[in-house]
Symmetry: C3
Subunit: 343 residues, 3 copies
């Protein structure tokens, strides 16, 4: 593919250093630090600007505010996103499984399988399920009774969906994840814990993606729900009756305790812990490892343990830094005060 053709696709302007050609052939995409001749790369994160003069790439996609690029460049609004478009043209994604139902797939009674569905080897589908068109289920995944899965979903290997789970369309679930395990509910009766039956379910709306080895518990009653477009990283814990809004992102190893409501467009970093029965407002941001013990207002930025508004916590941490010096000062004051009193 020629450079001008690429510029046209991403709607960018070509700028070429003196003495270099515009009409060059591009054969692949690559990262700026490892690109070879014939490849196109990109610059988005300023941390990588040092590679501008070092890269072996034949061309580069850069933001409009970058100048003095030593190789042919395409100037665009969002260099990363433009690069991805080209990336996909050079590397069209391969289907992770061939369509068709493997002869070893076990399918329960009264279960409906849509058109063009792929069921991998040793998949087990329960009774009274429905699986939408073009959905792909990879080997050794277990889908329990009365589960509904929409169209164009991708459920990787070794996933477990418990009974009555409802999954929308274009949902991706990575390997090892368990959806619909029992919520953690026990009543102490005569000093022993009696299991509280967990009879609700889990609902996962359209365009949600869930990472590997996550645990999403079913509701005690009613539902645990993850709304449209939300993305979960790996090893995330979602307890019973949690509701997570739309277009929210949750990084790895975060845990959300029972009945908490997370709003829309919330950003939750890694290893955050959120206590039960609180609300995280729309657009809030929770920094990594925060321990959130109270409701967070919309658009607020919280961090710390226990988590506090960002500015408050920052101030406290700055104060904390001064603490050893303060202690020294106080010792000096003590002496000076004594001396003054003697006088």
């Amino acid at each position: 593919m020629k450079l001008p053709e690429i510029a046209k696709i991403i709607g960018g302007e070509i700028v070429v250093p003196k003495g270099l050609e515009t009409d060059i052939e591009i054969t692949q995409v690559a990262k700026i630090e490892s690109a070879k001749e014939g490849e196109i790369t990109f610059l988005s994160n300023p941390k990588y600007a040092k590679y501008l003069s070092l890269t072996k790439a034949s061309a580069i996609i850069v933001p409009k505010n970058i100048s003095d690029v030593p190789i042919p460049a395409i100037l665009v609004d969002d260099a990363y996103f433009s690069f991805l478009k080209i990336f996909l043209i050079f590397n069209p994604p391969k289907e992770p499984i061939k369509a068709g139902i493997h002869k070893t797939a076990v399918i329960g009674e009264n279960t409906k399988i849509g058109k063009n569905v792929a069921l991998g080897a040793y998949t087990v589908i329960g009774d009274n399920c429905s699986i939408g068109d073009n959905t792909k289920i990879l080997p050794n995944t277990v889908i329990s009774d009365e589960t509904e899965i929409g169209n164009d979903c991708l459920i990787y290997a070794n996933v477990t969906l418990r009974e009555k789970t409802k999954i929308g369309s274009r949902v991706i679930i990575h390997s090892g994840t368990v959806v619909g395990s029992d919520g953690f509910g026990f009543a102490k009766v005569d000093g022993k814990y009696t299991k509280i039956p967990q009879l609700g379910n889990v609902v996962i709306e359209d365009d949600v993606e869930i990472g590997s080895n996550c645990s999403i518990d079913r509701a005690t009653m009613g539902e645990t729900r993850i709304k449209r477009g939300t993305k979960l990283d790996n090893l995330v814990q979602v307890a019973h009756n949690v509701i997570i809004g739309e277009d929210t992102v949750i990084a790895a190893q975060t845990g959300i305790a029972g009945s908490t409501k997370v709003g829309n467009n919330v950003t939750i970093a890694g290893q955050v812990g959120i206590v039960g029965h609180i609300e995280i407002g729309d657009g809030a941001i929770l920094a990594a490892q925060s321990g959130v013990s109270e409701s967070v207002p919309p658009k607020a930025v919280y961090f710390g343990y226990p988590a506090k508004p960002h500015i408050e916590e920052k101030r406290r941490q700055v104060s904390l830094k001064q603490l050893p010096e303060i202690i020294k000062k106080i010792r000096r004051f003590e002496k000076e005060l004594e001396e003054l009193k003697k006088k």
Copy 2:
């Protein structure tokens, strides 16, 4: 079912507002905020008291100290537990798998299978195992050689039990959990880590429940043991040679390092980390995200990072809040002292 019949089952007293009937028909149970006509609900957590006047339920189970309920009520000692009793009558739990051994189950040599056992599709059971009466093992679960499982257990799909694991009766293990993986033990020899063989096993006593995607490591020598009635949430890490007492609860994403002993009736919240080779006393409580680096006495309440007794840590956090103000004061003192000294 009529309301007086329900009151009899849970041993409660019916109180009906003037003008309303007692002998009403109840068709289902529901949560207070979503109950419909004909349904019975409950009030236990005071946070939900605001729904008392809003609920569409036809009757409600409430604690004895609640008065002025606008709908027919049954007064009991423990509203939640009474509600659960009724819940189960209206919603008898469905068996997660039919009894019988699926034709694809692979069973090793010299393995004993009890009466009325269910083995799901593609389960793999090793040599010299024994599986007790009425135990249910769901699809794609792997049980390794010389493993013993008691009666009335429920092992969900995609679980892995490693060799020589011993499991009591009425134990529940959720999907994705691994019991008996090697403890994390290496000796540094000539700058390289040499694996220390992990030749002990894991023992799980009666009435234990283990959540999804947990990792319970086998002992180096001897055993890792979880005692009777203890309940683990999801994504919990239990290292080699850990002993966990009876009737203890451990919330999600908590990790316990090697050889630590946790007592009976301990309550451990989510994302707690406990260092190795210490003891957590009976009845202790560890707050969420605590980093426990020293032994905790019986009945103590610890929190913080590093974890300290609750009162000490609370005091420290209150002091911390005053820190920016203290720094201001100190600056003022400094000036005032200088002025006084000049005089």
Copy 3:
């Protein structure tokens, strides 16, 4: 086996209390607190020294600096490592699976299987894979297309290896672990998250061991790499494009965010969180639950949240302890200053 024979194997010196014999028969190894007659034990951790006078063992392996042992002892440089040598002689490890390809194993097209390979029941191997000599893959594990595995590897049950994963020789991967799941990458376009395709892979070098239920994500482009001899505990998160050096150990529930580089010989304790795009220098030590938000120099010891150099953080924590007392002092100063000013 006689005691002198054992002493010869581990190169130690026998010391026997007066009146006791040297040429005793040893039948098994055991821990100091539970050893019985005829068994040999060891003492390495000083915490267990109290058992020296209590143990029922017939002999003990101890470090050279220990004296006054009341039972026959072998003095060595490293008691634990010496003990392990003897441990393995008395308890030769049993193969976790018989060699041979189970008749239910599904093997894709153009896949090469080495000599003496074991493939367990219901394993699924994709197209264009290669599996080296003596490698063992346990039941229900799924290995995706174009994956390469070296010689003498041990992949436990219910593991998922995604496409194009490259694994060296003598690698051990425990159950439930997922290698090569998609990195967590989304671009926000018109307020919605668009998936960034994750087209790189994961490379795991020789002699690496990975615990159970870990998530190792594939790179967006290029590779995620874990270098020779490194050991990961359970439930560890390794994000896309992370590079982990040689001979590094990472304890349970630690998470490493995208593109971070961890050096050689690094020690990372449990539940540590490491932010993306930073570097952890060779030989660094990160204490448990640390929240690492900036690069760490080689050989540095960091702890805290946010993590700081050990000494700095220790000083701060000591200061913090004095805080309530400081506040009291300041109140006193305030009064005294006022009084002085009045005068």
